[in-house]
Symmetry: C2
């Protein structure tokens, strides 16, 4: 009798835990990297906080009114793309050729539909172009000039490439190029890495993203980036790769990544978190921490991710000094963090 | 005592099963699709058989001499790329603009390093370009003209785009364009699919790929394609996407996919097979069949894959009428099939 009671208590506890924890929730990130409090001015910290808050509020308005997770993540990412502080949309870093080439992707956890664009140069909001690819074409991924043309045909806002120019990012390119050419000269015997040098680890970071759970229990994820400063050869990172930078499935979770893209591609980061939950029967927290705190550094990479499961549990792990991140749920109060807890 | 004996017997049986089944093995595919025996001439069947046999023999020579799985899959895929029968390298299908844009990827299961190129137009063997990206750059994926430039700088063989021209494929483009414009006219009210019509399901197929296990127990996978006939907007399929079209990990398996790329991307096909083995503790056969025979058609897609695990077990499932496929192991006898068993 005592055992029966204990068993029932355990079952009850499990049932409570399995219930939706939140009505709805939106999580955003503005990139992970070498973000040190000692090097941050109060003014700049305020700007980042305000930027993340605006993104959270844009998505909150949608979710609170019963809108979809998909609409919420797109709206939040658009706000971050329009903010020159972040390396996505306006504020994107420069390629070696001095251009801004933008990548974005989106996935709807309900239908497991997905869309992505890589290397666009004229679409004001790449995340919206990714959504159009998902909803208005039978393709998942488009690249280069073809993707720009598709976005224009879809009636999205097209801008002159100079729209993406920001003085800060341009100076970053000049700086890294100076360092790069020096390093190339010193290391020219090192054939393996002869073509690439990224001394400034921050050059890899600044991607933005959002994941959400809506009132109907649906999940969505979106990611957008300008890539790496001084990138060459049409390099594609993890942000437009479904399964690497972005993944969503109502049965498990929605994930958006930021960090050293090459490692996230090799680990197929976002889908692996989902698969650990589905096939390994572990929690979102266990899966995300295993990937970001153990497997990612074990391979030599760094970065972080944000994710939400179908019960509204959220995680925001990273293995760098900081990650611009925040969330908002039905309480309507934005919670924003930059450094480690 | 009886139980101890039985337990030991079970452990022994498990140990035997876990042992490497084959010294080495190479599996290749030349695409899945509507391949009907009733529509195939004896002459054409002979040509396909000969093409697959050459690819298997090229890889066998390497594996038999103790070479790496990575060298074997590259060699096998190069043979298929050079053969105009297959939709990869020479023989690639045409885009809407009448160009040949090629994608390829490769992954080394030992280091879990990967490389990919998307939309190259002048590299004779895209699979070799993918391998150079993996080994000679710090990137995983390069696209468009930048990827072509990188391949040239690496000393790979560069050809005039006309090298990829084949009369058969060009006629296929003209045919599908004629059908397409008609269908667009009839269906112009269907906004969702207004831009894309692929009546000819074969237009999606013909990708080539290889997976191998070498004598040292290492796995590798490679995939190469010309994509879909009449593709537009810089469409990228699953072949250059690590995790979707290609994946390899010595701990689990090596996978190369062929089929309707959009579905393979959404399912993150290759990595999911690996994750089902790693986290779900099922066999390669169970995982591959679950994905190709159940989850892929459930989502509305079709195609197939080839895979090998670290014990040399191989699978070649597909849910289409046929798949050009074959394998060779230490016995040295190529086994080739086209239709269903």
């Amino acid at each position: 009798m005592k055992y029966l009671f204990l068993t029932m208590l355990c079952l009850l506890a499990a049932a409570v835990q399995a219930q939706q924890k939140r009505d709805f929730v939106l999580v955003v990130h503005g990139g992970a990297g070498t973000i040190l409090k000692s090097k941050m001015t109060t003014e700049r910290e305020k700007q980042y906080n305000a930027g993340l808050k605006s993104a959270l509020e844009a998505g909150y308005t949608i979710l609170e009114q019963g809108g979809s997770a998909l609409d919420a993540v797109e709206a939040a990412v658009k706000v971050l793309e329009d903010n020159a502080l972040f390396n996505a949309g306006r504020g994107a870093v420069f390629t070696n050729e001095g251009r801004n080439e933008l990548d974005a992707s989106v996935m709807d956890g309900k239908s497991r539909s997905a869309g992505a664009v890589a290397g666009v140069t004229t679409v004001k909001n790449p995340v919206s172009a990714a959504r159009r690819v998902m909803e208005k074409s039978s393709h998942v991924m488009m690249s280069g000039a073809g993707a720009d043309r598709f976005a224009a045909e879809q009636g999205l806002e097209i801008v002159d490439p100079s729209y993406f120019f920001t003085e800060d990012r341009y100076r970053a390119l000049q700086k890294i190029k100076a360092e790069d050419s020096l390093k190339t000269e010193l290391d020219h015997a090192d054939k393996k890495d002869g073509s690439f040098h990224f001394k400034n680890t921050d050059s890899k970071f600044g991607t933005v993203g959002a994941v959400a759970l809506d009132k109907n229990g649906s999940l969505a994820a979106a990611t957008s980036t300008g890539g790496m400063t001084n990138k060459r050869y049409g390099r594609v990172g993890d942000s437009p790769i479904i399964g690497a930078g972005t993944y969503a499935d109502n049965a498990t979770c929605a994930v958006s990544c930021t960090g050293w893209g090459e490692y996230f591609i090799r680990l197929v980061m976002a889908k692996t978190v989902s698969d650990m939950m589905e096939f390994g029967k572990i929690t979102l927290k266990e899966a995300a921490e295993e990937m970001i705190l153990r497997r990612l550094p074990a391979l030599g990479g760094d970065g972080g991710l944000i994710a939400v499961d179908s019960h509204g549990n959220i995680v925001m792990p990273f293995n760098t000094e900081g990650m611009y991140r925040g969330y908002i749920d039905e309480k309507g109060k934005p919670e924003i963090k930059i450094y480690k807890d």
